[in-house]
């Protein structure tokens, strides 16, 4: 910048004098300095040239016929196009009053005649530089301001600048749009009266604490009124406006969250639907399992019923004996009947609980008890398995937080798969069910078989819906298992043991562990 000024490029200097001799001298003095030089010999011409070329510096003779220098200066300052140029008066009038008058009219400097060319050169140079810098600064300011305005205008969130009483000092177009008004109409109105018209004096209104105490606020779903009296739910951030630690009101950034709330509601609804369908699918899958096990259950129930029928006949025979009936044998038989009826009702209770429609929700569970119950359940199905089921659970295992029915459903599914795989491979090794505490605050349940093993593409596909390796399978079981276990905040997977077969596992978060709980929520 300094360089360009020293080269005097682009700097225009207007020389105004009614005396051609003077003009000539000035012109000679400045002509080789690189300025663009304009010349006028009277006021009107000077104003016209100045308006058209906006010179940085004007050397202006005071004493001129028609229009004197003072008037020219006045009119230059009145024209916005030329108001900023530096007017340097030239006059033989070397008295104080003339100088003062010149300065009072906006003159920047004063050169006395007869002038010294070095002085003229120096002063012109100085003023050219000052004006140039000033103009650059202004241009920069204009640029910045329009940038800011563009930014504020393009923000979709409404922005208010408030004074400490809540009067609106600044409004961006988005704010006006949200309030259904115009920027001009909103400026000067009171934020609280405008947006919270029904509030009582005693109410603590939003943004009030920011305006009065300088406390930042951040709130959501606050009902705000529009200019037309309608309401909208708003989310806003209020930041105190501080100047040297002195509170000057607040800046409020706000927006209409009607659509957000609708989307959230729709999302919640969709999630509830997904949950409902998952429960429904789980229930259907439990019913399917029961259907597959129906023959087994009928057998299980028929055993005690058969025994009861037989014992009852025996009891009748004892009683119908001619001689004294053997009362102790009778009592013994009756006890047996009672025991068998308990056995039958226990089987039915277990089935009923398993097919109960709504999931009971998460509760604190003992894994060994749950697995023992599941083992008895699964044994209904393993009449053709030589190996059976072997349960290995350590005594000291912490309780877990999970839905008992859904966990039992998963365990039963894995055990039945393992039994089927063992059966298909005609192996005699039992299906081993074990549980242990893993490092990450979870109980890990494992179901290990020595059956037919897993197909090669199991890693990618096994837990996908409708993928099955069984000829009569639907491909629903494991997909449902995964969704159920994930809903408990656990994980499900499998390994391929080196000595064949398959090993499926699932994990459940230990009850009362923060980490486990947050993981459970995260999975929802």
């Amino acid at each position: 910048m300094t360089e360009s000024v020293s080269a005097n490029s682009e700097v225009t200097v207007l020389l105004v004098d009614d005396n051609p001799q003077n003009l000539k001298v000035l012109y000679e003095t400045l002509k080789d300095k690189g300025y663009r030089l304009l010349i006028a010999n009277e006021g009107e011409k000077a104003l016209d040239l100045a308006h058209r070329h906006q010179p940085e510096v004007i050397l202006l003779d005071i004493m001129m016929p028609e229009m004197d220098g003072y008037e020219v200066c006045q009119r230059l300052k009145a024209d916005p196009a030329t108001a900023d140029c530096a007017v340097v008066f030239l006059s033989a009038l070397d008295d104080l009053q003339a100088k003062v008058k010149g300065f009072s009219l906006g003159g920047a400097d004063y050169i006395s005649k007869p002038f010294q060319s070095l002085e003229v050169i120096a002063r012109v140079k100085t003023h050219a530089q000052v004006i140039r810098l000033e103009r650059q600064l202004q241009a920069r300011n204009r640029e910045l301001q329009s940038d800011q305005t563009r930014i504020l205008n393009s923000i979709s969130e409404g922005i208010y600048g408030l004074d400490e009483h809540g009067n609106i000092e600044f409004v961006n177009p988005a704010a006006a749009l949200i309030a259904r008004s115009t920027v001009d109409e909103l400026v000067g109105r009171n934020f609280f009266e405008l947006h919270f018209p029904d509030s009582q004096e005693s109410d603590t209104l939003p943004v009030q604490a920011t305006c009065r105490q300088g406390v930042a606020e951040n709130q959501r779903n606050i009902p705000m009124a529009r200019v037309d009296g309608s309401r909208f739910p708003a989310e806003y951030r209020a930041t105190p406006k501080l100047d040297n630690e002195e509170l000057h009101g607040a800046v409020v950034v706000f927006r209409d969250i009607t659509t957000d709330l609708e989307n959230e509601a729709a999302l919640e609804e969709a999630q509830a639907l997904v949950q409902e369908q998952r429960d429904q699918l789980a229930h259907t899958s439990r019913l399917t399992t029961m259907g597959e096990m129906a023959a087994g259950f009928a057998h299980e129930v028929n055993q005690p019923l058969t025994a009861i029928t037989n014992y009852a006949r025996v009891a009748k025979r004892i009683m119908s004996k001619q001689e004294a009936p053997d009362m102790s044998l009778l009592a013994e038989t009756m006890d047996k009947i009672e025991a068998q009826s308990h056995r039958a009702s226990e089987i039915i209770r277990r089935i009923r609980r398993f097919v109960k429609k709504p999931a009971t929700g998460k509760e604190i569970l003992s894994v060994p008890a749950l697995l023992e119950d599941t083992r008895q359940f699964a044994e209904v199905d393993m009449r053709n398995n030589e190996g059976g089921i072997e349960l290995m659970v350590p005594d000291a295992l912490p309780d877990v937080l999970a839905d008992p029915i859904q966990v039992q459903q998963v365990a039963l599914n894995l055990i039945r798969n393992a039994l089927e795989a063992s059966r298909s491979a005609s192996v005699v090794q039992p299906v081993k069910v074990s549980a242990e505490l893993d490092g990450a605050g979870c109980v890990r349940v494992q179901v290990r078989d020595h059956g037919v093993g897993l197909p090669e593409d199991a890693e990618e596909k096994l837990f996908l819906p409708f993928y099955t390796t069984k000829s009569d399978g639907m491909g629903i079981g494991l997909a449902t298992c995964r969704s159920l276990i994930q809903a408990q905040g656990g994980d499900i997977g499998f390994d391929r043991p080196e000595d064949g077969g398959a090993c499926f596992y699932f994990t459940l978060p230990v009850a009362g562990e923060e980490r486990a709980l947050s993981a459970a929520n995260g999975a929802e």
Binding site: A295, Q303, N310, R383
Partner: protein
């Protein structure tokens, strides 16, 4: 071997069912022997056993169907009543094809079960009686000399004494003596009876 003791053999894995059935049949005056699985019965089996088997079709380890196959391999004639659960009908049909006498579905009525057991025991008695008779015939046949056996075969084929004498190049008188010895040893006076007796054991003899 006329009035042999018949026993009802119960093969049932469920303790309560086994125990109650044993009590029930004993209270009806039957001789009962319970087994808790198919292997235990198979170990105990001998062809001297008489009576019938009440066999649960579904059992862990060896099931009822497998036990039936193993017994068939041993030429057991013990009648089997299969006890089935709901939905086991196809299995029961297969069992009948393999020679089971009957099946009954749990839970059953006592009358129905006892009726089936009685029928099975009667069948066992029949089979055993006819088997005894056949074995008696075979025993008698074994007492014949080769010459007597040959002459009996020709008698059954309908050859007259004269033809037999010519073909065997012996006197007709000698044929007559052999003939009366055969009739005596076989315990009959009528040729028709002799023919019936020998034909009834033909399959057993051919099997040897």
């Amino acid at each position: 071997m006329t009035d042999i003791q018949q026993t009802v053999y119960i093969v049932e894995d469920d303790e309560a069912v086994r125990d109650s059935l044993e009590l029930l049949l004993k209270s009806d005056g039957k001789s009962v022997k319970p087994y808790e699985n198919a292997m235990a019965f198979l170990k105990d089996y001998s062809d001297q056993m008489a009576g019938c088997i009440v066999l649960d079709i579904r059992m862990p380890g060896m099931d009822g169907m497998e036990l039936q196959k193993k017994l068939n391999e041993k030429h057991s004639i013990l009648p089997i009543i299969f006890v089935t659960g709901h939905g086991d009908v196809p299995m029961a049909v297969d069992a009948m094809k393999e020679g089971a006498v009957d099946f009954i579905q749990k839970p059953y009525r006592e009358e129905a079960l006892l009726e089936k057991i009685e029928a099975a025991l009667a069948q066992d008695r029949e089979q055993r009686k006819s088997l005894d008779e056949k074995q008696e015939i075979i025993r008698r046949i074994k007492t014949l000399t080769p010459r007597e056996h040959e002459i009996m075969d020709r008698m059954i084929a309908g050859q007259a004494n004269k033809v037999i004498a010519i073909e065997l190049e012996i006197s007709q008188r000698t044929v007559e003596i052999h003939r009366s010895r055969v009739m005596h040893k076989m315990g009959t006076h009528s040729l028709a009876h002799l023919v019936r007796m020998v034909l009834s054991v033909k399959d057993l003899i051919d099997a040897r």
